[in-house]
Amino acid sequence: MIKALIKRRLWLWKNRLISSISIAFIFPILIILLIIVPFKSIILYSLSGIIYESWVYPGFIFLITSIGIFPLLYRDFFDLRIHQKLLANIALTPYSKSTIIYSYLVCAILEAIFFGFIAAIIYSLFIPTNLIFLDYSILLFLVTLHLFLLGNFFITMCLSINSISIMWIAIFCSFIFITLGNGFILEFEFFPQIMESILRYQPFSFSYQSFHMFLSLNIVDWKLISITLLIVYFWILFNGFFLRKKFQQ
């Protein structure tokens, strides 16, 4: 099923090549110019003393991929679903609903990582980075884990909402939360103490925290990773169940 979804995604890219490629390039440039450039004039160094533009680089990749995973999931689980297209047909294929959810997530994550890859190249053209191969490998693993979690959240959101206006408000709230509430571009210490605690213990920030822990202390926080993996597993099952209920199957 994953192969079928990837093929379809490639066909869609091919059929809308100019707009797709444009977005893949314009989006990271906008984030750099409108968020990172002004922020580096305000926050010169991170609280641990690293130059902001170097500190924010992993957060930038997390942010780009977090948003990059959204279009495919929104399109199929909300847009095409409420217009009674495609997803209903997929639901009739011989796969369990959890397999469908998992396959969608893998496909969306691959696309998001592709966005992240382009963004990383563009970023390195503006600002030099000092990550080594091992850092990139860990980054890739933790971004993937983060995207599995976030993708599940997006799927639940897309399946729960049936109205376009409510969907847009939900998207706006989600993107504000993703951008500012996970420590990607602003450290948690900038928030009041209660907020800091809440944000630190919300699972969407676990992968990013783990990566910074690895960068600063060379420690892989298996506890946070295991908790995230467990949440991802049960959330896939839940979304499978939810999808089945949505189709009354």
């Binding site: 869609l12 095409l80 297209k85 209903a88």
Partner: protein, 308 residues
């Protein structure tokens, strides 16, 4: 003949309303079965249950002896489903839409492409395969969905208005293909085009309020339910008095009028002469005698109470 589809006391309730009520019937392998009925009779819901799109609230559906609820993955491979509404991906080409389904059912790409060429040629839209779905007409969508439903070579085809949105030529090509597939595949379809149903069926299921009201070949249904002839006599002037006289003839059944035309049914052809003899001096402009068809059968008077 062995049953391809078997329903055992299947019921569906939506929003507290019973849509299907304890349906039990079987469909033989290779047969072409039409489902007809009024809007809201439960026809599309039945197709959704048979396709696995929805689950019944109670009862069981078996495909080739496999319980659809317990053997989902196996039974889904047996089914090709064409929904009423277009559900193609609007941004994929027609061919990509079909190939996507082929991939989902693990059909090899070269085999799928051959099948697409074959069926699209038969249906007369092979030169439009590279069109993006949102750019083509509803009839082409329907044909694409039909080919998509056939791409994994299912044993059972479930079609909701298979010729919806199509022009006359497309309707002919589509029925030629469906009739060709009969025998190899069990086909169950819903249509509001009674002419098409009259031409293409082994069996008709007449639905009313979620129940099967009649079941059989049209000829059998007509014989068993209404051995009537339909008559129409157009007078130069059909006065109210004359109409009253004519409609009170004991052998005349279900009389009505439209302007100067007297319309009625009778068990034998002789009824016609009974009417003529009651109005010997009135000038007649036109006469019509018709064998009853599916439309007559479905007329509420027929389906509900019968002519008597």
């Amino acid at each position: 003949m062995a049953a391809s589809i078997t329903l055992k006391k299947v019921g569906k309730i939506i929003g507290g309303k019973t849509i299907l009520a304890g349906l039990s019937f079987g469909i033989e392998k290779g047969s072409l079965v039409a489902v007809v009925g009024l809007n809201g009779a439960g026809k599309s819901t039945l197709l959704k249950l048979l396709s696995g799109f929805e689950n019944p609230n109670y009862g069981q559906v078996f495909l080739h002896g496999l319980d659809m609820n317990k053997r989902r993955n196996e039974t889904r491979k047996l089914i090709g489903y064409v929904p009423y509404e277009n559900d193609l991906d609007p941004w994929l080409t027609l061919e990509e839409n079909i190939l996507f389904n082929a991939e989902l059912f693990n059909v090899k790409s070269d085999i799928a492409k051959k099948q697409i060429r074959k069926y699209s040629t038969l249906l007369g839209f092979n030169n439009q395969l590279n069109q993006t779905a949102f750019k083509v007409s509803g009839g082409i969508h329907k044909k694409t969905m039909l080919v998509r439903s056939l791409i994994h070579n299912p044993d059972i085809l479930i079609l909701d208005e298979p010729t919806g949105y199509m022009d006359a030529e497309s309707i002919r090509l589509t029925w030629d293909l469906i009739k060709d597939l009969r025998g190899d595949k069990s086909i169950i379809y819903v249509s509001n085009s009674l002419n098409e149903i009259e031409q293409a069926h082994d069996r008709i299921l007449v639905f009313d309020n979620g129940k099967i009201l009649m079941d059989g070949h049209l000829d059998t249904l007509l014989e068993s339910t209404i051995e009537y002839h339909q008559f129409q006599i157009e007078f130069e002037l059909l006065t109210d008095d004359l109409y009253k006289q004519l409609k009170n003839i004991p052998t005349v059944v279900s009389p009505n009028r439209l302007d100067n035309t007297f319309h009625f049914y009778g068990r034998t052809r002789d009824v016609f002469f009974d009417v003529i003899s009651k109005a010997p001096n009135e000038k007649k402009i036109d006469l019509n005698l018709k064998k009853l068809g599916l439309r007559d059968l479905l007329d509420s008077e027929f389906a509900g109470k019968g002519l008597d």
